[in-house]
Each structure stands twice: as C-alpha cells, then as structure tokens.
C-alpha cells in the first residue's frame, strides 16, 4: 500500500496534484482513513497491532507528502526566479548627472577656505559707477592707472565693474571694523579676447580691516589660503607692485607643483597690499589699518585643471560642462 502511495506522491507534478494525492490517501474518505475506520471491527489484540501498522503507514505517507510539497514549492520559487531573470548589462533608467560649473566649484572651494578662516562672504553689483569702481579707490580721473583696466562704459555713463574692489567701498561704508570679508564675483574688461583673455571673468578678493593689522598679517592670510588650496608647506612670495588702492602694494605668488608638467615653480596668482589711506578717507575711516588681496578665478581654474581655452568656460557646450562633473 505504501509503495503505491509513494508512487502517486512522486508522480504529482505540482501542488494541486499533490493535494489530490493527499485527499485520496489521508482525506476524510481517503484510503488510510477508511482503513482506520475498519479497526473497530477487529478484536482488541488485532486492533492494537493493526492500529500501529496503519499509523505508521499514515506517518510515512504524511512525511512523503511533506517532502514532496517542499520540493515542489522550491521548484516553483526556482521557476519564478527563472522567469524574473534580467539582462543586467542593459543600460539603466536615469536622470543624467548634473554638474556645477568649474568656476563655481573653484569659487566655492575658496569660499570654504575663507569661511573656515572666519571671513564673511559678500557680493555686490556688476553694473557700477565711476565713483565706486575708480574714484573712491584712488584712481583719479584721467590717471594712466585707469588704462590698465580697459572699461566697458554704458551709454548712460555707468560702467561694468573692472574688479571686485568696488565692494570694498560699499562694505566699508556700511560696516565698522574690525571685519574680514571676501568678495567673489564677475568682472569685465574691454580687452581683446583670446585663449587666455576674456571680456568677462571672475575675481575673488579679501578685505581685512581692524585697529592694527600688518603686512605680515596679510602674508599670513595669503599663506593660509595657499596651504588650504595646495597643501601644507606651500610657500608664498611677495614682490612690490602698484595698485592705486593699496600702499604698499605687492603681487603674490605661490610655489607649487604644476599638475601637468610636474615642475615646481612660482605661480603668480594676484595682487595685494595695505589699504591706501585715500581709500580709508573716501569711506570715512580713521585710525585703522587693513589689507586686501585678490586674484582671478579663471587663471586658477585653468592652470589647476588644464583648461586650454578660457572661452570654453562661457560657451555653454554641454560636452564641456559634463566634464565638470565631480571635478572638485
């Protein structure tokens, strides 16, 4: 009997067939159940022996059904998984990755540095007037120093700022020392455009004014920035130069390893100096000293990341913009 039951169980191809086998053997009217019902007709001795035999049979069939059920379930899961097989090598569904513009990245990297050094970040207008851009910064009218900053004038007598320094005047007129500020922004020069010169570019400049700050403080600030950008031990160099709004004035360079050539060399970054007394006079400050330094972001971006044509930064070609993903 068991043999036949096991044959039927093995032959059940799915869970439903197996259920029918279960009913046929162990159901209320199943063969084993029927035999159990027949026990009552036997003598007590026979009944015990036959009972034990039938129970063993029932147990064996039950176990076989159980095992078969587990196997069929596992096979069903396997089949389901098989049906759900994917080709993982096909491309995914996605929104393409965005990117900050390279100049934004450089700007924000610098802003991080200056914030960590305790500077406030301020911005100012791009359309300026002669007073803020030149006169209050000690560029007298008709002074040859103005020729170094070819200016876009507007037909209504205003100008596009040639540097971020007008914000020095605006900030100092609305704040009292001590303070440390940094000003990022777009500036404009009416110069011939080529691979390294644009009519529009970006500067970042710092201004620190207090009762007594010194040129050594200025150098310390420049050095702190250089170390944050280029790593510990970065050296700086100051050479005298002239900007109307500082005295003494200097240009600063950092000693770095050029990422392309691998050569160590001085990288001339920008200008700096102690705020000129005429500038303090123009904003009504007395009895303080201060320093300012500034530089162009394009140059820093170009030498650091190997941009060969400055105009690529402004064309809006997505083949260029995509390269800025994850640059920082």
């Amino acid at each position: 009997m068991l043999e036949r039951a096991l044959e039927e169980i093995t032959a059940a191809a799915d869970l439903r067939a197996l259920q029918q086998v279960r009913v046929a053997w162990l159901g209320r009217k199943g063969r084993v159940t029927e035999r159990l019902k027949g026990l009552g007709a036997l003598a007590p001795d026979e009944r015990r022996a036959a009972g034990a035999e039938i129970n063993a049979l029932k147990q064996a069939i039950g176990d076989a059904l159980e095992a078969r059920e587990r196997a069929l379930e596992a096979a069903a899961v396997q089949a389901q998984l098989e049906r759900e097989r994917l080709d993982v090598t096909l491309p995914g569904l996605r929104t393409a990755a965005g990117a900050h513009h390279l100049l934004s990245q450089v700007m924000h990297k610098l802003i991080d540095v200056f914030r960590s050094l305790g500077y406030e970040v301020v911005v100012g207008p791009e359309l300026e007037d002669d007073h803020h851009n030149f006169e209050a910064l000690n560029f007298p009218p008709e002074h040859p120093a103005r020729d170094t900053q070819d200016t876009f004038w507007t037909t209504d007598g205003r100008l596009l700022r040639t540097h971020t320094s007008p914000m020095q005047v605006r900030y100092m007129r609305t704040h009292r020392p001590p303070f440390k500020v940094v000003v990022p922004g777009k500036v404009f020069r009416n110069e011939a455009v080529d691979t390294t010169h644009e009519a529009q570019f970006h500067q970042l400049e710092a201004l620190v004014v207090a009762e007594h700050v010194t040129m050594a403080d200025m150098r310390g600030a420049i050095e702190a920035m250089a170390v944050a950008l280029f790593g510990p031990g970065t050296r700086t160099r100051l050479h005298p130069t002239f900007f109307p709004f500082v005295e003494p004035g200097a240009e600063f360079a950092v000693w770095w390893t050029h990422p392309k050539t691998g050569r160590e060399e001085w990288l001339e970054l920008g200008g700096c100096g102690m705020v000129h007394p005429n500038v303090f006079r123009a904003v009504g400050y007395e009895g303080v000293s201060g320093f300012a330094f500034g530089f162009g972001l394009e140059r820093m971006a170009m030498v650091t990341y190997g941009v060969s044509d400055i105009r690529d930064l402004y064309r809006g070609d997505v083949r260029v913009l995509r390269q800025f993903r994850g640059v920082a």
């Binding site: 929104t95 791009e126 876009f152 777009k186 310390g220 050095e223 702190a224 005295e247």
Partner: protein, 786 residues
C-alpha cells in the same frame, strides 16, 4: 619697456651678472617679463665703403657699386637699394656668408649678366633691426674692412613691466637708480655728472636769435630751445644704432637718433626742428584753434581743437601755423632733412592731462606721450638738453650756440612728514633708522631732522609718485626686501554672519537634480533679446565688442536658449544659470531649461519633459527650502499662452515657469522646450519639527466633474474649505477627459485624508465631513461622478 643690459651697466658701475640683476629688478617691483638675447652681426660680414656707383646696363632699377672692403681690397656688387651712393659705408656680405635672419648662405652669382661678388645688405637681412628699405648705413666710426661682428656684438635686453605710477622707470636712468639704491652701488648719471662746469647748459642771458612764446604755462610749464648750427646729417655711430635697435627703434640719422636716445635714456622726450621751419626763429606754444589741421610725420591729418596744445610758428601772413602736437607727435614738415644744417632742439615739459587727452582724442600712442602722460621729471629739461647738445656736437659736428631760450624753473617737491616707526607698524619690518635714512637718500630723497619722531622727507623731482608717508614706507620696504616680511594671523573680534550669498544650496539642489550649470555673458545682442521676447533693453555699452555683445541682458533664459541652440545635437538637456540681469535695477536670478526626456534609458520609454516635470522640479525645490509653492496661470510673451504660470514662492511672486512659446522656439531652432526663471534670493524656512501623529487617518475618494476651464486649484480650494479642520491632505489621483464626462468637462478624482489630532475618527464623523464636501461641490455647479 626694453632696457639693454649694457646701458644699465654703464649707468651702474659694478652691476652684477644677469641673473642677479633680474632677481633684483623683480624684488624692486620692476618685474622682468622676458630676457632677449639679440644676435650680433653675422660672422664674415665686413664694413665696406662704396667708392663708385653706376647704373646696371640691363636693369633700370639696379646699380653696380665698386666698394672698398679694407686696404687693398676692392670688389663690385650689384644692388638695388635707394640709398646706395658713393661715400656710403655699409655692410658687405662676401659669398659663402651664413645669414641667420634669411636662413641662407650667400653664394657668388650673376645678376642680369653682371657678376656680383656677394652683396650689400639691409639691416633686416643682417638681422640687426627691422628695416629693409635701404642698406645698413654706418658712420665714420666704422672703418672699411672691419668685421661688423666686432662692432656689433650680441646684446642682452631686459623687457620690464612698468607700472603706471613709476614714470621715472620709463628710462634707463630710473631703472639704474633703483638698482643702484638696492644694491648699494654708485650711479653714473649721463646728464648730471655733478659738476655744472662739465655740462653745456647754455646761458639764457645770451641772445640766440630765437624767440620762445609760451601762451599756456600750465600746459607747458617748462621749455628749452637750443640753437645748434652746422650739423651734418648722417648715420649715427654703431654704439647708438645698436642701442636704439636693442630697444626696438629704427636708427634714422644722428640728430633724430640723439633725441630718441634722450627719451629712453633719461625719460625726457626731445625734438629737433630744422631751424628753417621756425619762421623768424619764433617758436610758439599755444592751444590749437578749433578745426586747425596738422599733418603728422606719419602723414596722418589731425583736426585739432582747443584742448590740444601745439608747437607753432608764425605763418608769414600774420598768423600762426602748427608744427607739432605738443608732447605727442611732430609734424611732417618741421623735422630735420638730409640737407639740414641748423637745428633748434626742443626739450620741454608738457602737462600730463593735456598730453593724455590729446593722445587719446587723436589715437596717437607715442614714446613721448607715454612718458609725459605718466609725468616727466619737471627739473630734467635743462640737463637733458645739455646731454643732447653735447651728443649733437660730438656725433653730428654741430656748434651749440652759447645761449639758450628757456621758460619755467625748477620745482621743489613738498616734504612728506615721515615717521620711521611706521615702517615696522605697518609692515613689521624692523629697519634701523640710519638704514632707512640711507635708503631714502639713495633714492634721491632729502631727509631733514633725523632723530625726531617725524622726519621731513623731500622726494626727488623725478619721483612724482611719492606724496604720502605710506609711499615712503613702501620705498623702505622695497629696498629692505618684501621677502623679510613674516607671516602672522591677527586675532580679531569678528564673527562672520551666516548666509548664502552665492546661492549654494540652490545650485547644489539643481546639480543633484541632474542640471548642468552654465555661465553666459552679461552682455548680449539686442536682436537676440528681442528674438527671445525678453524685457526691453535698459543698459547699452558705449563701445561694445560687436553688436552681439552690445547690451546688458534683461533675462537669463535667452542665454540658455542660445546654449540649447548650440547643443542642438543633444536630445535631453537640463541647464541652469545663476546670474544677474539688468532692468531698472540689477537683479539676481536663476533660470532653468529642460527638454527631451527627464528620466531615460536608450532602450526604454523615458519620461518626456512636459510642464509638470518642470513644475515638479520647482515643487521639489520648494519642499527642500521648506516653503509653499503655488503656480497661477499667467504667460509672459516668451511662454506658451496656455502652458505657463507665474511662480508664487512662499507667498511672493518670483517669476515664471512654462513651455517656450512655439514661435520663440522656432526662432532659436528649438523644439518643445521648458523654462523657468526666478528672482533670487529664494526664501527658505528652517524646518519646524513635530512629533509623528499616532492616530490613523481615514481615507475617502470622490470624483467631481467640472468645466475644463475651472482650475484644479479652484476645485481644491472650495472642497478643502468644506472638508473642515481634520482634513490632512487632498490630492488628485486621476484626471479624466473624454466621452464619459462630456465635451468641455473633465473629471477630477480626489483622495481625502482625515485625522483627528487626539483620537480616532468615527466613520459617521468622516461621512458627515464628506457630505459637506459633496454639497459644496454641487453648490459650485460640479457634478459628482459615481
């Protein structure tokens, strides 16, 4: 400015080697941009004198010259130069000579049937300076037969960057003064040997037959005119030609070369007039008459006005004729000519502003104007005149008149109150008092009352840039060396306020959302803005770099449209820009552009960008910023009239979003494109955290049918009000338009969720609220769909 190293060595005896000179100049603030090594004359080339010149028998334009290239060495060459004439000393290039400038070796050859034994060469062929209009012309100092390379050796030239304040450094002398002061070396001043007897200054009390009439002593504070007779115009000696060639000038003739040398050597422009040009020996300095004309020595005709200062002479008819534009450029007719014998040497000072304005107005950039505009030493003219006079006597055989006609006098600078202790206060450089004094004196300053806390320091006349104590502090720091400045960090009682002036949170959110950031130009073309239907131009540039950069942008999106046009090959674009636009005020904005598919794979259907995709971007931004966002139907001219809205951010109207108007899209050769442009800064609110509610919510759905033109926002507002205080959300989950609801209508299926803050809501309570909702819907004329 180009400075020959040997010129500096003459002025500063003991000058160190090139590398140290370059490093010293860099440290002085006279940075060396480049060092040029100029080649000397080619080996093998010899000085030759043309003995006889006759026409070539076969060619009108050619000549045959017999020349002497040293004692007992005569030969013949064919040449075509206009200045070939008997008596000329020039450069003979024997056959077989390598000419580096031409990259060729000269061979012996026949020229139109006449044998030419080598050739006579122009300065350009010799690689000496850029002139090919004639043969190299040498003076009596060059003896025939001499190897030219011995006379004209290679030369080192420094190219310096001169900042606009350093008027004095536009001359060899000024550069030499700085070097001598920094290196503590003596200075040999070519025009001021220190002994007045050694200088031919001329005596103003001796009548010289010249008359100087200076009408405008402000425009011309100083003028000297020296009469020199009997000059012989001819080539300059080799040393002078070499020096001029080294600084990039073409040697012309001894008299002109001397005036050019003075300009570069001393920083004092000078000009020699042929005395015949001065009518009656009268030289006038006056303002030009409006409309007066002047033909310059470059043959340009300038139309002058009363702002111009001119050098003039009586015209012989009772009037006055302009000879030169003062301090800028000479006229065509007054200069020395080959037959000039008597000259009047002008060495004068002109006011910076006058010269600057004239030069700009007439677009004349000259060596003289460059120096006057920055400020020439006001006391230099008599010394420079003496130096030039001596040179003209030696080099051109001139006889200087003992008299001189002059106007103006020496000026003395105002002393500056200088506190030497301020050097350390401002720069931290500790420079002993006697060293500071020595430095200032080496620079030419006079220092009085040393020992007192404040000194009276009178700067020299040539340092027009020194006016304040800080200027002198820089001089001391410069000579001491900026390299000694230390590095400190000030401790300051300043706490920077927080803020995001560069809109970093916004940029980060957009970049995370897959947008590429662009930066376009603040200036653009008026036509481009018009094609984009942007706001009317307010600000125009007066001298733009072309029409397409002539006006300031009034919106950001035209720049994004231009970028989309440039990237037409890209199906999917998501761009943004943060920048400033120029309307009645300058406004900072952000603009977005989306087109193509937002979520895409090449082999799967993606999510095509439509209005709701762009709106979703804004909604997500608003969520991130913790503010409300509402769109109200409204279309500016550049957007689709029925697919655009104004953006109300945190209750404030900040801009527009929508589909680009198809006509504008066509103008930019674009397909379906979506834009948003919002004014910055976008408000944000700090999140207010609250505990998560534990009560379950009850959910009910309701579909209402309303006319198409009734906005969802309107339906929502009505039903929301009716739903009462326990409503926590109301969202559309299906929008249907079609036969089942009838034409001109649509069905909005809405899901309501209710929750009581403290307890569970009974079904009956929720049903009661929904009854109110349905009544409100019916009252508004909507039908309920079941």
């Amino acid at each position: 400015m180009r400075v020959p190293l040997d010129a500096l060595a003459e002025l500063v005896p003991g000058l160190p080697a090139l590398d140290e000179v370059v490093a010293t100049l860099d440290a002085l603030g006279l940075p060396v941009d480049a060092v040029h090594e100029l080649p000397g004359a080619p080996a093998g080339v010899r000085v030759a004198e043309l003995l006889e010149v006759w026409p070539h028998p076969e060619a009108d334009e050619l000549l045959i010259a017999r020349l002497s290239a040293g004692v007992g060495h005569q030969t013949e060459v064919v040449c075509g130069a206009p200045n070939a004439r008997a008596g000329l000393r020039s450069a003979w290039v024997p056959p077989g000579t390598w000419l580096g400038a031409l990259e060729t070796t000269l061979g012996a050859r026949d020229v139109r049937g006449v044998h030419s034994d080598g050739m006579l060469a122009s300065p350009r062929e010799l690689g000496l300076f850029d002139h090919a209009g004639g043969l190299l012309a040498l003076g009596d100092d060059a003896l025939p037969g001499t190897a030219l390379a011995d006379l004209w050796p290679p030369c080192t030239v420094l190219e310096l960057e001169i900042t606009p304040n350093r008027a004095d450094a536009t001359a060899f002398l000024g550069v030499a003064r700085d070097l001598a002061a920094k290196l503590r070396l003596p200075l040999r001043h070519s025009a001021d040997p220190g002994d007045p007897a050694a200088l031919d200054l001329g005596d103003p009390s001796v009548p010289d037959g010249l008359r100087l009439e200076v009408d405008d002593p402000v425009g011309c504070p100083r003028f000297t005119l020296r009469r020199i007779e009997g000059v012989r115009i001819g080539p300059s000696p080799v040393w002078l030609q070499r020096r001029l060639a080294a600084i990039g000038l073409r040697p012309r003739s001894n008299v002109v070369d001397v005036t050019n040398l003075i300009t570069f050597e001393l920083g004092q422009p000078a000009h020699a007039y042929d005395l015949r040009a001065l009518e009656g020996g009268v030289l006038q300095v006056r303002r030009a008459r409006p409309g007066e004309r002047l033909v310059t020595l470059n043959e340009e005709t300038l139309t002058l006005d009363a702002g111009d200062l001119v050098i003039a002479t009586p015209d012989g008819r009772g009037g006055s004729r302009a000879l030169a534009l003062a301090g800028v450029i000479g006229g065509a007719g007054d200069s020395v000519r080959p037959d000039t014998t008597d000259v009047a040497l002008e060495v004068a000072l002109f006011q910076s502003l006058t010269v600057r304005r004239s030069a700009r107005r007439h677009k004349q950039v000259t060596d003289a104007h460059y120096r006057f505009e920055r400020g020439v030493d006001p006391n230099l003219a008599p010394l420079a005149s003496a130096r030039a006079t001596t040179l003209l006597a030696h080099l051109a055989g001139g006889r200087p008149h003992p008299g001189i006609s002059a106007s103006g006098a020496d000026v003395r600078s105002e002393p500056i109150a200088f506190r030497p202790a301020q050097v350390a206060w401002l720069t931290t450089l500790e420079v002993p008092l006697d060293e500071q004094r020595g430095m200032l004196e080496r620079l030419g300053c006079q220092v009085r009352a040393p020992g007192a806390e404040a000194w009276a320091v009178t700067p020299p006349s040539w340092r027009v840039d020194l006016a304040l104590e800080e200027d002198l502090i820089e001089e001391v720091a410069r000579l001491h060396g900026y390299e000694h400045i230390g590095s400190t960090v000030p401790s300051m009682a300043f706490v920077p306020p927080a803020g995001d002036p560069t809109h970093r949170a916004l940029r980060d959110a957009l970049v995370e959302g897959g947008f590429l950031e662009t930066i376009s130009y603040a200036f653009t073309g008026a036509a481009e803005l018009e094609a984009a239907r942007a706001a009317q131009v307010r600000v125009r540039l007066s001298e733009p770099q072309g029409l397409e950069r002539a006006v300031l942008r009034t919106a950001l999106y035209p720049g994004l449209l231009a970028a989309a046009r440039l990237n037409h090959a890209e199906r999917d674009l998501a761009l943004f820009e943060v920048g400033r636009v120029f309307l009645d005020d300058e406004v900072e904005r952000v603009a977005l552009l989306l087109r193509g598919q937002r979520l895409a794979a090449p082999w799967l259907p993606g999510v095509p960008v439509d209005f709701y995709v762009v709106k979703g971007v804004l909604e997500q931004l608003a969520e991130r910023f913790g503010v409300s966002l509402e769109l109200r139907p409204e279309a500016p001219a550049h957007l689709h009239p029925h697919a655009a809205a104004s953006v109300v951010w945190d209750g404030v109207d900040v801009g527009h979003v929508g589909r680009l108007h198809p006509e504008v899209a066509a103008a930019f050769e674009l397909g379906e494109t979506y834009l948003a442009e919002l004014t910055l800064p976008l408000a944000s609110r700090a999140p207010a955290l609250s505990s998560v509610p534990r009560q379950p919510f009850a959910e009910r759905d309701l579909a209402v049918v309303a006319p198409l033109e009734v906005a969802y926002a309107e339906v929502r507002a009505r039903l929301q009000a009716a739903a009462g205080p326990w409503l926590i959300s109301l969202e559309p989950f299906d929008v249907y338009q079609g036969e089942q609801v009838g034409a001109g209508k649509r069905s909005l299926a809405l899901r309501f969720r209710f929750r009581h803050p403290e307890r569970s809501l009974a079904d009956a309570e929720v049903e009661a609220r929904m009854k109110e909702v349905m009544e409100a819907a019916r009252a508004a004329g909507y039908t309920l769909r079941t």
